[in-house]
């Protein structure tokens, strides 16, 4: 079953204070199988000035800068879903509906004729680490799908089942048993 996650990773040199958000669409519901697609924003250039805001519109995880092509990722295989705080936003048909809305909206930001899923596109917006950045991109695409970012921030440690509690934490089960 399809699943949609919000994920993040720490920005180097910020002692964990700054994080980079991104969205993951997983067609088979296994977040480490390699079929995942990533929607992200980031700078165009590789040094200052950082140029325009550039979007990955559902790029495969093996080619995405938040996947295997992340130049700062030094592990083997794909980045671990729990390390990247994958948190379930929706599953099944609803996941697909949200994903399509997000991709469609992101494509309009790009102002590139024919931009579609799988493309990397440069928007006319100037990248700004404090304003038009990856996090504002995710906030905007989620809003376009009717999702509030503040109610759906990633759970530290990951929440693949979407119960609002870090995976592996048995707090929910204990509460249920007590009841």
């Amino acid at each position: 079953m399809q699943k949609l996650y919000i994920a993040n990773k720490i920005v180097n040199g910020t002692f964990g204070l700054a994080k980079h958000l991104y969205i993951v669409f997983d067609p088979d519901g296994n977040p480490s199988s390699g079929d995942e697609l990533i929607l992200r924003g980031g700078p165009e250039n590789l040094s200052s000035p950082l140029g325009h805001l550039t979007l990955e519109l559902g790029v495969g995880v093996s080619e995405s800068l938040d996947g295997l092509a992340d130049p700062y990722y030094e592990g083997e295989g794909l980045p671990n879903a729990n390390d990247r705080n994958f948190t379930l936003l929706a599953e099944g048909t609803q996941a697909e509906v949200y994903w399509d809305l997000m991709i469609s909206f992101a494509a309009t930001l790009a102002s590139v004729a024919g931009a579609d899923e799988g493309d990397t596109v440069v928007t006319p917006l100037d990248y700004d680490a404090a304003q038009a950045n990856s996090n504002s991109t995710i906030t905007s695409v989620m809003a376009a799908a009717g999702l509030d970012i503040y109610s759906n921030l990633p759970v530290i440690g990951g929440d693949l089942d979407g119960d609002g509690i870090k995976d592996g934490d048995t707090a929910t089960e204990r509460v249920d048993q007590d009841e």
């Binding site: 480490s32 079929d35 040094s47 093996s62 992340d70």
Partner: protein, 155 residues
């Protein structure tokens, strides 16, 4: 007298023309420097820092290292000359990718093959890094186009 004035004007004109030529030469030289980002430049002059975007870098490296390039040559350029670091990555799977991008095999298996990863910090503030993934055959020649990614670790 008139001829002296004429000669002086000619001299001034000559000096102006010379200055203009000199100026043009400097502009052309400056442009030539900037064109180190052009894919046609000498491979031995390659520097990661000369590339502004991932796309420019990828195009250049893929032209520099076509399929069949020796590992020794790639490592001379990327490590000895351009200062990148190396890490070999062994996939836990036994097949190579058959297509340009790795394929999904099902049952939680991603076919990534075995490759060597070279990376270089292009900028420290903001932190931006380039990553080159190279797939070698048993006789240390590339068996597919090099994969290049580059990005900044920023929000």
């Amino acid at each position: 007298m008139a001829s002296k004035l004429y000669i002086a004007r000619k001299r001034t004109l000559f000096i102006n023309k010379f200055a203009a030529l000199l100026f043009t030469f400097f502009i052309v030289s400056a442009c030539a420097q900037a064109h180190t980002a052009d894919p046609s430049f000498e491979t031995e002059n390659f520097k990661f820092e000369n590339y502004k975007t991932q796309e420019e870098l990828a195009q250049t490296l893929q032209r520099m290292f076509p399929v069949g390039t020796d590992r020794e040559y790639i490592e001379f350029i990327l490590i000895d000359q351009a200062g990148s670091s190396k890490k070999s990555v062994e996939s836990n799977l036994d097949k190579e990718c058959e297509k340009d991008s790795c394929s999904f095999l099902g049952a939680g298996k991603l076919n990534m093959g075995t490759y060597t990863r070279y990376y270089k910090d292009i900028s420290l503030v903001p932190p931006c890094r380039a990553l080159v993934r190279v797939y070698y055959s048993g006789d240390n020649k590339t068996i597919k186009p090099v994969k290049v990614s580059a990005g900044c670790n920023v929000p």
